[in-house]
């Protein structure tokens, strides 16, 4: 074997040199072990620094994303709940409002009912001149009141007189030769539209000795049943200047 650097040292001299370097190796080994333990105790993989950085980065990102996800899920649930309750509440409110409006005559309604027409009696003698006799043959405000009252008593749910919807504050009266309904002048023929069960409404008017008995006698009234009539909404204004709602005890349901 050819010598490259120096002639090989014969004998056991090499053992001491190996021992010398073994001391250095031992120091290196101790240092390496210590450093390795430190790396492990710091809880990070010691290889591939670039990967390690990426790993830590991804781990943090993952954690924050998980947190975001939980947050979004919670918000989603909350919105769903809100939507559900909101919809129910809105629907409930709307139906209540609709009912109240119908009751107050604020919206037009339609349904089966009767149309009552009142006009002056054709049986009047044209030669008759006595006012107290003529008076009996013409339609008065109290005739209309009586018919309307009878219809309401028979279960009419909406009534109009010549297009004037009757509401809670409606009045029917005469001023001289004209009749005012809701303070609006109306003229003959008086067309009263009433929504309700047609048969019942008609029978109520035809009751012998009833409110409209005299009108039938003098042919001043005509009653027609209709499958579908429309009663318009109250068109005047309705303001409360004096009446104030009394605080009500809270309803338990709802």
């Amino acid at each position: 074997m050819s010598t490259i650097a120096s002639p090989p040292s014969r004998g056991k001299g090499w053992v001491f040199q190996v021992t010398a370097l073994c001391i250095v190796l031992g120091m290196l080994l101790a240092l390496s072990l210590r450093t390795q333990r430190r790396a492990v105790s710091e809880g990070i993989p010691n290889r591939w620094p670039a990967l390690r950085a990426e790993f830590i980065n991804l781990k943090q990102q993952n954690a924050s994303l998980q947190k975001d996800l939980a947050e979004y899920k919670e918000r989603y649930e909350e919105l769903l709940r809100k939507q559900a309750t909101g919809q129910a509440a809105t629907l409930g409110l709307e139906s209540v409002l609709q009912e109240a409006k119908m009751l107050a005559g604020q919206i037009a309604v339609h349904g089966p009912g009767i149309i009552v027409t009142l006009h002056d009696s054709p049986k009047r003698d044209v030669n008759e001149t006595r006012p107290e006799v003529i008076e009996n043959y013409i339609v008065h405000d109290y005739d209309i009141r009586a018919v309307v009252n009878e219809l309401f008593a028979a279960g009419a749910e909406a009534i109009s007189v010549n297009g004037q919807r009757l509401i809670a504050t409606s009045s029917i009266r005469c001023v001289g030769p004209v009749i005012l309904v809701n303070s609006v002048q109306v003229a003959a023929p008086y067309v009263i539209k009433a929504i309700g069960k047609p048969d019942v409404l008609q029978k109520a008017l035809e009751l012998p000795g009833g409110a409209a008995d005299g009108l039938f006698l003098l042919d001043m009234i005509e009653v027609k049943q209709q499958p579908d009539i429309t009663v318009p909404a109250y068109s005047g204004s309705m303001r409360f200047y004096w009446a104030k709602p009394l605080p009500q005890p809270k309803e338990k349901s709802r």
Partner: protein, 119 residues
Amino acid sequence: MIWLPLVGLAIGFQIYWLPGLSLPSSVAAYLSLATLAGLDSIFGGIRAGIEGKFHDDIFFSGFVVNTLLAAALAYLGDQIGVDLFLAAVVALGGRIFLNLSLIRRYLLTETRLRWRREG
């Protein structure tokens, strides 16, 4: 005689182990590789000694250069994205096993010869 390096190893180990010295954890991998290279040099030296081909200059320079080179190459590999760390581990590990097996054979042969001489 052959146990002398082991004693040296223990002494050197204690010098650094007892004070509890350590380097930043980021160099742990390179330090491990340097240790592996040092181990390779030691076994190479032992084998050469047994074979009677021991050169002290090759041995010392090999130890220093190999440890530094192994760590440096692994670091370079990390920087340029090539896993030279594994290459060094495979090369050094292979050589360590080769040297160890040769040393074992030499020792076995020597022991057998001694027994035959004595027996």
